[in-house]
């Protein structure tokens, strides 16, 4: 039982509980905060997988920007800040069945496919390599993503504009 395994166990437990709380809590703001926990856990997992740059981006973008955006959204739509009884619709049972079924299928497939594959971490992923990769092999997708962001920006403005 290495340290990494312990860390993974802790992170996974926190994430699992938080994720479940995100989709079950009766309080919208709490949901956002649990989401922060999950996202942070994901960043931790990234570190475990030797992707430090990604972990930092995850924290900056997700926790720093997206969650804040969510909080704004909650406020602007005047969602009930406290506990609200009817955040779920009437297909909780269906949802649970579908989700569990999917998890079963996926779990089984993964076990079938990678049941005893060990993960060898030889090298820490260098940010420089990531950057080089982005600007050489993946330069076109990168440009496309930037256009997408711009389009999203413009789109969000157009949609949300009050006129």
């Amino acid at each position: 039982m290495s340290g990494a395994n312990v860390a993974f166990g802790v992170l996974a437990a926190v994430m699992a509980v938080s994720a479940i709380r995100v989709v079950t809590t009766k309080n919208v703001v709490h949901a956002a905060l649990y989401l922060v926990l999950v996202l942070a856990g994901v960043a931790g997992i990234f570190i475990l997988l030797a992707a430090e740059f990604l972990a930092i981006v995850q924290i900056l973008v997700y926790i720093g920007a997206i969650v804040v955006l969510f909080l704004f959204g909650i406020m602007l739509t005047r969602a009930p800040i406290g506990r609200a009884p009817d955040l779920d619709n009437d297909q909780r049972a269906i949802g649970a069945v579908v989700a569990m079924f999917l998890f079963g299928v996926l779990g089984w497939i993964l076990y079938d496919g990678f049941g005893d594959t060990q993960l060898q971490l030889r090298d820490v992923g260098r940010s420089g390599d990531v950057g080089a990769s982005i600007f050489s092999t993946f330069v076109v997708p990168f440009e496309v993503i930037s256009v997408l962001l711009l389009a999203a920006l413009v789109g969000a403005v157009v949609i949300a504009r009050r006129d």
């Binding site: 297909q91 269906i94 299928v105």
Partner: protein, 747 residues
């Protein structure tokens, strides 16, 4: 040589069709000039071609089938194989060739160069098939002129289009182009002022093209082209006045096309069978040869012949598919003349004559037994002739007469009298065309567009002298009065039937001839004699204009002299000119002219005329002379003492025929056969409706809609699913994706 280039003939009329269609309306004569020009040209070409054919040396020896079978196969190694382009060589296969094991391709190609190879393989004339009188001499015949072009290729078979010029084809070309030319001339005046004059001429051109294509075809597929082209044109022409009388005319057109098309099922099937049976070729000569040499199994051959016979019955209006022909009178009269005399209905006869080898072997025509071809012909002769007695419409009399005469031709072919059948076709064309055009002339100028002999005619003899004379000549020819055309050909048929061991069929023929003479007498009487009635009395009948009369005169002259072509005193030229390898290969017996038979046939013809004359003459006099007399001495007393015989006849024969038999026949015709045809249509609609409404809409479709219908009845399951709510869709989608993933994983 016209013979190598007879493709020009259909090409001329086809281009005339196109030209009329494109430019007809803008011309002063509305397109008729193209038609007339084209037909004049084709007639000239056909005449020249026929002359060249006659002048061709007879140098091809043919031996009967039995010897072909026994002769060893000498396979000729072909020299240059030029795929049939532009080669004008004799026709292959006269030599005894069994293409055992040879692919069809070589077989087809060999057609081109078989000519020179043929001599080498001609076996010595051996023992002919002597069972049926006459005997057969291996007299040399003329070599047919073939020409082939590559047409298309499918599978490993190259199909060639081609022309086949021999005596039969040339005779047909001559008749068709001549009749068609006269019909064109006649129509120019007759159809003058018709609102679809241009269209009419275009259809005439195409119609003639169809017949030309059929006649010149070297393979069954091409023949099918011509065959169906005529079907199409008959549809257009019979339904020419589709805007008059409600649906009557167009229904007649439909019926014509539909009935012949029913027969065509047989043609499609027959051609398909023969294609494979003859070694994957459509070529007619090869097919005949294969049939005669026993290359084709008897079962297969029988199936093919039976299928083809169905087609013949449909096209040539034989019993029981003849019902369309009288209805087809709805078309313009010149069209009726064309259909009945030279094209369309004789196509069936022509087909049998062309594929005679197939029919000969399949039905064992040489054997002298009862065979379907002869039976069909014989039954048709009687049925149709009986029907002709009760018609009031002059065109229907003529129509039934045509059916009956076609029965003669078919019967002739069925009893092995090939030449006689073809010769009857040849002569019949002239006098039947004359009769139809005469009827047209009467309606045009004499009876104010009516065809009803009983109501609107009578006494036209003096008003329309030329029409009367020509009509009379043609009637006499049809009735078989010597020495007019019909006598020679009909006599030959009867002779052939008698000598070939078909005694029963000869009797039928005699009865038929008798009836023909009688009903034609009635027809002439009602039209030209007696008091004018109806339109003939009130609308100032007068002689028709020259363009109508001249064709009548031409045809009348031909009706007189055409028969001499094959008359024994003139060397029976027609038979020599038309005889071809198929026929001689079949070992057809040739019979000398018999005075007894001739006398019999003359007696029958005059008997018929006299009977009819007496009866109808009497029909307009006091009815006090009705006394029954014995049938003995009928003929003599008919001529001398009309009264008694009339009574006898009326009481015993004519009434017998006219009342129960003819009525029953007509009733059967209308109520049974027609009803079956109509009923089949209605039943098909009924079944169709049932299938559509019950099985299709409620059964299969319902099964498809099953989920939807069931759910809407039991609580709207499907509607519940389609709520428009994204999350439910998403649940479904993800669940389905899971299932799919599971399926993939399990695979």
């Amino acid at each position: 040589m016209v013979l190598q280039n007879i493709w020009v003939i259909p090409a001329i009329t086809a281009s005339s069709f196109v030209l009329i269609l494109l430019f007809g309306r803008r011309l002063p004569n509305k397109g008729a000039e193209f038609g007339l020009m084209a037909l004049t040209m084709t007639f000239a070409l056909a005449s020249i071609g026929a002359a060249q054919w006659v002048g061709r040396p007879a140098d091809l020896e043919v031996e009967p089938a039995s010897t072909i079978k026994s002769a060893e196969a000498h396979d000729e190694e072909g020299g240059d194989e030029d795929h049939g382009n532009k080669s004008d060589k004799g026709h292959a296969g006269e030599g005894a060739k069994e293409h055992a094991g040879e692919g069809a391709k070589e077989h087809a190609e060999e057609q081109d160069e078989g000519g020179h190879g043929a001599e080498g393989t001609v076996a010595e004339a051996g023992e002919g098939d002597e069972d049926h009188g006459g005997g057969h001499e291996a007299e040399p015949i003329r070599r047919p002129v073939d020409r082939r072009w590559a047409w298309f290729q499918t599978g490993d078979v190259k199909v060639q289009a081609g022309t086949h010029a021999d005596g039969l084809a040339m005779a047909m070309l001559f008749v068709v182009s001549l009749i068609s030319l006269l019909v064109h001339v006649f129509s120019f005046s007759y159809m003058h002022g018709d609102e679809r004059f241009t269209h009419y001429y275009a259809a005439l051109s195409l119609f003639t093209t169809g017949m030309f294509v059929l006649v010149t075809a070297s393979n069954t597929l091409q023949a099918l082209f011509g065959w169906e082209l005529m079907g199409l044109c008959s549809f257009m022409l019979i339904g020419h006045w589709w805007d008059r009388d409600g649906n009557k005319n167009s229904s007649a057109a439909l019926k014509a096309f539909f009935t012949t098309r029913t027969g065509d099922v047989g043609l499609l099937v027959g051609i398909s069978i023969l294609f494979f049976a003859a070694g994957q070729t459509f070529d007619i000569e090869t097919t005949n040869r294969a049939a005669l040499t026993g290359q084709i199994g008897s079962g297969v051959l029988l199936a093919a012949a039976a299928a083809l016979l169905v087609a013949v019955i449909g096209k040539s209006a034989q019993f029981p598919l003849h019902t369309w022909l009288p209805d087809a009178m709805a078309g313009p009269t010149p069209v009726s003349a064309l259909i009945h005399a030279a094209t369309m209905v004789v196509a069936g006869v022509y087909l049998v004559a062309r594929l005679y080898g197939v029919f000969w072997v399949a039905f064992d025509i040489g054997g002298g037994g009862i065979n379907p071809v002869a039976v069909v012909g014989a039954v048709t002769i009687l049925i149709a002739a009986a029907l002709a007695f009760v018609q009031a419409d002059i065109k229907k009399v003529l129509a039934y007469s045509t059916v009956s005469q076609l029965g003669f031709m078919i019967m002739a072919l069925g009893v092995g009298a090939w030449t006689a059948g073809i010769f009857h076709l040849f002569t019949h064309a002239f006098f039947k065309a004359c009769l139809f055009l005469g009827a047209g002339s009467i309606s045009h100028s004499g009876s104010h567009h009516s065809f009803d002999m009983v109501k609107d005619m009578g006494g036209l003899k003096d008003k329309m002298p030329w029409t009367f004379r020509t009509f009379l000549v043609a009637t006499a020819a049809l009735a078989g009065v010597p020495p007019l055309a019909g006598f020679w050909s009909k006599d030959e048929i009867l002779l052939g039937a008698g000598k070939n061991g078909y005694g029963l069929f000869m009797v039928v023929g005699l009865i038929g001839a008798f009836m023909t003479a009688a009903y034609m007498t009635r027809c002439v009487y009602l039209t030209f004699f007696g008091e004018p009635r109806g339109a003939a009395a009130h609308h100032h009948p007068h002689e028709s204009p020259p363009l109508i009369v001249v064709p009548l005169q031409v045809l009348a002259v031909l009706s007189v002299f055409a028969g001499l072509l094959n008359a024994p005193f003139f060397g029976e030229l027609f038979g020599k000119w038309t005889s071809n390898s198929t026929v001689l290969g079949a070992g057809i017996a040739h019979h000398e002219f018999s005075l007894v038979a001739a006398a019999l046939s003359i007696a029958v013809a005059f008997g018929g005329i006299a009977t009819g004359y007496a009866y109808y003459w009497k029909g307009f006099r006091v009815g006090s002379l009705r006394h029954d007399r014995g049938p003995t001495g009928m003929l003599y007393r008919l001529l001398v003492r009309k009264y008694y015989l009339d009574d006898l006849y009326e009481g015993f024969i004519v009434r017998g025929i006219r009342e129960p038999v003819a009525r029953a026949a007509y009733w059967t015709n209308q109520k049974v056969i027609d009803a079956v045809v109509n009923g089949a249509g209605i039943a098909a609609r009924g079944i169709a409706r049932f299938v559509y409404e019950i099985i299709d809409q409620r059964g299969i479709d319902a099964a498809v809609n099953g989920a939807g219908i069931a759910s809407s009845e039991t609580g709207g399951l499907l509607r519940y699913i389609q709520t428009g709510r994204v999350q439910q869709y998403a649940a479904l989608m993800l669940g389905a994706a899971g299932v799919f993933a599971l399926a993939l994983a399990l695979l």
